[in-house]
């Protein structure tokens, strides 16, 4: 019996028993467990009878009580303020200040959203205008987060792509940005630059130096900076540390710190909470006028605000148990386990793939994916063409059919012409990864043989 994400296909005989789906960045689907403290607080907020429950730790009850007090009528079923529960926004701005070594943040500039995707679309929608040569263009990396590209299509923004440099570990090169924008100006009005740091899918983590260069670039070119930083907690040790765009911007001082406009996005979906289904995220807007915020929030008000449970999860992410709290030990153990699992998976993928012909893999400095390059025989590329497919899509389709492994083809995310990649999510149990790698290797060698 084949089991696929809840639905079942009966009577189909497959050479595998269970599907392995690492095509999306979904930790829980990949077998990772939620953080206990998060779920305890959420449960108590939903069903306040639990506040009398002796099995729940005191800090859980305290947090739940605190959060419910901030909800209208003390219920998580009420609407919240349009931009989010003020207490949650304060906790977010405190977090940002702590994270950025004291660089100030204000709850006034924070908007809670149902997932970072909603916030990304919110900002995009504010930016788009014009038609033809005046149509808003957004400068986006290749490869990119594909849903952002789709959102651009939906909202009518022109794509102005710039290539990340695979040979240099998928580095962002400002010369690339420059030539992209120059070319973009011929057919649209580029107004924003979208960066993902740490990167999805490449795993590249930008150094402070690069970030400064990007900031100088957007200042010169008058671009609004959209910094998707949802993977900021997943940086691997021993490499480049994560530093936020906001921090670098402020530490560069005027004129940059006063003029460059920045939107920074974060979410509970990635990182070690992995709570994709709860839809919790926020955007911090930097250097936007209060009059603009007011207009933006008026528009937002018609949408009834973001999911309360998501806001609760986000509050816990930015204000987790501290040393000395009853839940701290378990909390930090659970986070450590996930960090270690991710690191282990990053190493393991590299280890295994580097010994298989037909794969090259850049180092993964951060993020939750590996994005190895496939070196496919020309006959495979030809066959794909005949079928009207990209070669990596053919590869992934066959891999799914024959081995029950679901990956994302690089062609969905963008890549240089003539290259092929696959993306695997690494937020999964080590056991699942082993099964995956075994099946992948088996399939890959067979595939190479078939088309050589």
């Amino acid at each position: 019996m084949l089991v696929l994400g809840g639905s079942e296909e009966e009577g189909v005989i497959k050479p595998y028993k269970k599907l392995v789906d690492v095509s999306v960045g979904d930790a829980h689907r990949g077998g990772m467990k939620p953080i206990t403290f998060v779920r305890q607080v959420i449960a108590a907020c939903i069903y306040p009878e639990l506040l009398h429950d002796n099995t729940l730790p005191a800090d859980v009850k305290e947090r739940a009580w605190r959060l419910m007090r901030e909800c209208e009528g003390g219920s998580v079923g009420s609407y919240t303020d349009v931009c989010g529960i003020p207490y949650v926004k304060s906790s977010v701005s405190d977090f940002i200040t702590r994270r950025d070594g004291g660089v100030p943040a204000s709850p006034e500039n924070i908007i809670m959203s149902s997932g970072s995707q909603t916030a990304l679309m919110f900002v995009l929608n504010l930016l788009v205008d014009g038609e033809g040569p005046a149509q808003t263009g957004v400068v986006i990396p290749i490869p990119t987060y594909d849903l952002f590209a789709m959102a651009m299509e939906e909202l009518g923004a022109e794509m102005v792509p710039y290539y990340l440099c695979e040979e240099e570990g998928w580095a962002l090169r400002v010369e690339e940005l420059r030539s992209a924008v120059r070319a973009g100006r011929l057919h649209c009005h580029p107004r924003a630059l979208y960066v993902i740091n740490p990167s999805n899918p490449t795993g590249n983590v930008q150094s402070r130096k690069i970030i400064e260069e990007v900031i100088r670039f957007v200042a010169e070119e008058k671009l609004f900076l959209m910094a998707d930083e949802v993977y900021q907690d997943t940086v691997q040790g021993g490499g480049t540390d994560f530093v936020s765009y906001k921090r670098v911007l402020f530490e560069m001082g005027p004129p940059y710190s006063e003029n460059v406009q920045l939107a920074s996005f974060h979410s509970v979906s990635k990182g070690f909470m992995g709570e994709c289904g709860l839809r919790g995220g926020y955007v911090e807007l930097v250097n936007v006028d209060p009059a603009f915020m007011e207009k933006a929030c008026t528009w937002l008000s018609a949408g009834a605000g973001s999911a309360v449970i998501g806001q609760i999860a986000l509050n816990i992410m930015v204000d987790p148990p501290r040393p000395g709290d009853p839940s701290y030990t378990m909390y930090s153990q659970e986070v450590k386990f996930k960090k270690d699992t991710l690191s282990c998976n990053v190493r393991r993928v590299q280890e295994v793939l580097q010994d298989i012909p037909g794969f090259t893999c850049q180092a993964v400095g951060g993020g939750i994916y590996a994005f190895p390059r496939l070196h496919l025989p020309q006959r495979a590329v030809q066959r794909a063409k005949e079928l009207g497919l990209e070669a990596d899509l053919l590869y992934c389709t066959r891999l799914l059919e024959e081995e029950g492994v679901c990956l994302e083809p690089g062609s969905s995310l963008g890549q240089k012409e003539g290259t092929h990649h696959i993306r695997l999510c690494l937020m999964t149990s080590t056991k699942t990864l082993e099964v995956l790698l075994k099946r992948l290797q088996r399939f890959h060698l067979r595939f190479l043989k078939e088309f050589s």
């Binding site: 696929l4 809840g6 990772m32 289904g277 839809r279 603009f292 009834a304 799914l400 012409e417």
Partner: protein
């Protein structure tokens, strides 16, 4: 057989092929979304800027590219002009002032009242309504499955939670669901609809779970709005309306086509008025959509079956796409009134209509007897939607990944609640009835008290959660309002707020016949408080009338 994202990648390219070759003339069935250029990121094709054809076209460099180097990129002047036009009265300036007053009270300011009562927004829990115990128990169990070992939860809640968790990825509500919504939830929704509609079949594939009904409504409008100038999509909405509609139409740049509900006939919908509105609209746009809110917001009217049949006939005749907002379907109070779903009536009218009329119906977890606004649960059922447009819809919802899973679960509980014989059944029925009875009582009370005020006329509140009384404003007050640049009923409501702390929404935020004034007040405050509130309002009105005579 693919993961939802894999299906997307494949479908997208296939779909683009279909769209490019389609040259349909039938206006209702053409996918109305701008045809997206296939993602030109790679796909083996040369990036567009390397194409010789492109290079040979010289574009005049956009002046904007140079001129706006000074100043910020994103300001009130440079933001999306459509979004700038959006207003939403329910949370508008009067509410902002109410929040400010609350702050002032907290800081010790002396006022003729001690608290602000927010009777502006349809938020039942905020006004003290209690959630349904079973729903919260199941949700808590789903959130923290360890509780399945606890003795404080009834067996049916535990079983339910286990069933739900089995349909979540990795057994967790923290996994993404498919974009259309968890399949077992959609199946439950379909069963609920069938049961509600005397067995008329409902297909789970036609159900799309959403982030509240608002999300589904805006998504539908996105599919429908297209064209330019005279052929720009017109959308017919009732006046008075729920201002989400006008906000969405402003954002999408659609033409708002007003049809007036008949206040003298208890806010009834007359097809003659629909016809008048449509014919006038055809002179300036392409009206393609008819929006109905039943039971009505803000008016509370519950449409009779005959009325619904007439609307369906009209929509069929005039080839209009029908959007039926039915989020208040359990909130029916008046004797002689009954909720009839548009779908049920459509199908009972026979294949002449049910085979062809395009209809979308909306429901939500925010209203009725559960009032779970914060969970953002909702769904739409699409009926007779063109297959290619439906594929576009599926693609559109996938851009947002998925609706919040807790909201999907809440929707599941609403449509599949405890049945006779279940341990939780009697408590459930008790709670549901108590809430609905209380609302009915308050609906009656509101109408009664307001109608004792000379200068206030209140239609019966047949359903929903609001009263929309008409107020007579003395001419001098109208003048004063004009001087202040305010709509007269906004002026009235602001004064009401400042003098009594009662926050209601002026009728101008919902639309009304020229020269008439109204306000919308919710019937949600606890009954004793509501009595006090309404009497304070009465006193204010008399005072105000006297002051400006």
């Amino acid at each position: 057989m693919f993961s939802f994202r894999e299906a997307w990648s494949v479908t997208l390219r296939g779909l683009c092929g279909i769209l490019h070759s389609a040259a349909r003339q039938r206006p209702l069935r053409t996918p109305a979304m701008p045809v997206p250029a296939p993602l030109s990121l790679s796909f083996g094709r040369a990036p567009w800027w390397l194409s010789a054809t492109r290079r040979s076209i010289s574009y005049k460099m956009s002046e904007n590219g140079v001129a706006s180097r000074r100043g910020k990129v994103l300001t009130v002047d440079t933001m999306n002009p459509r979004i700038k036009r959006v207003e939403y009265a329910v949370r508008g300036p009067i509410v902002q002032r109410a929040v400010q007053i609350e702050k002032e009270l907290k800081e010790g300011a002396k006022k003729p009242f001690t608290e602000v009562i927010k009777a502006n927004i349809g938020d039942a829990h905020a006004m003290g309504q209690q959630p349904i115990t079973f729903f919260r128990q199941v949700m808590a169990l789903c959130a923290y499955p360890e509780l399945l070992n606890s003795s404080q939860f009834p067996e049916d809640a535990k079983n339910r939670a286990q069933t739900i968790l089995q349909s979540c990825g990795g057994g967790s509500i923290g996994a993404y669901s498919t974009s259309q919504g968890i399949e077992s939830v959609r199946q439950d929704v379909a069963r609920y609809i069938e049961k509600r509609d005397n067995g008329i079949p409902s297909n789970p594939d036609n159900i799309y779970l959403s982030t509240g009904a608002s999300d589904a409504i805006v998504t539908t409008l996105k599919l429908l709005v297209c064209g330019e100038g005279m052929s720009r999509t017109g959308v017919m909405i009732p006046i008075p309306q729920y201002p989400l509609y006008s906000a969405a139409l402003a954002e999408l740049g659609a033409v708002q086509v007003d049809y007036y509900l008949n206040e003298e006939q208890c806010w009834s919908l007359d097809v003659s008025e629909l016809r008048r509105s449509l014919e006038a609209a055809r002179k300036r746009c392409n009206p393609r959509v008819l929006c109905i809110i039943n039971p009505g917001n803000p008016t509370g009217q519950v449409q009779s079956r005959e009325c619904i049949e007439e609307v369906i006939k009209f929509a069929a005749e005039e080839r209009l796409f029908l959007m039926a907002d039915e989020v208040y379907q359990d909130n029916v109070y008046a004797d002689g009134c009954q909720f009839h779903s548009f779908k049920k009536v459509l199908f009972e009218m026979g294949p002449q209509y049910s085979d062809t009329l395009e209809l979308v119906c909306y429901h939500s977890t925010s209203k009725c007897y559960m009032g779970e606004c914060g969970f953002r649960g909702g769904y739409m059922e699409v009926i007779n939607m063109d297959a290619e447009v439906k594929a576009q819809l599926t693609k559109l919802v996938s851009v947002r990944l998925c609706p919040p899973v807790p909201g999907q679960i809440m929707m599941d509980l609403v449509v599949n609640h405890p049945q006779p014989g279940d341990p939780s059944h009697s408590t459930f029925i008790k709670e549901k009835s108590a809430t609905l009875n209380t609302l009915a009582e308050r609906a009656r009370l509101t109408e009664e008290i307001l109608n004792t005020v000379p200068g206030i006329q209140c239609n019966p509140v047949q359903g929903a959660m609001y009263s929309f009384p008409r107020i007579t404003i003395p001419e001098r007050a109208v003048q004063k309002a004009k001087e202040k640049g305010q709509a007269p009923d906004m002026f009235y409501c602001m004064n009401l707020l400042e003098e009594t702390g009662i926050c209601v929404v002026p009728g101008s935020g919902f639309g009304q016949t020229e020269g008439t004034y109204h306000f919308r007040i919710t019937i949600l405050p606890p009954t004793e408080k509501l009595k006090i509130l309404l009497n304070k309002l009465k006193e204010f009105h008399l005072r105000f009338t006297q002051q400006y005579s």
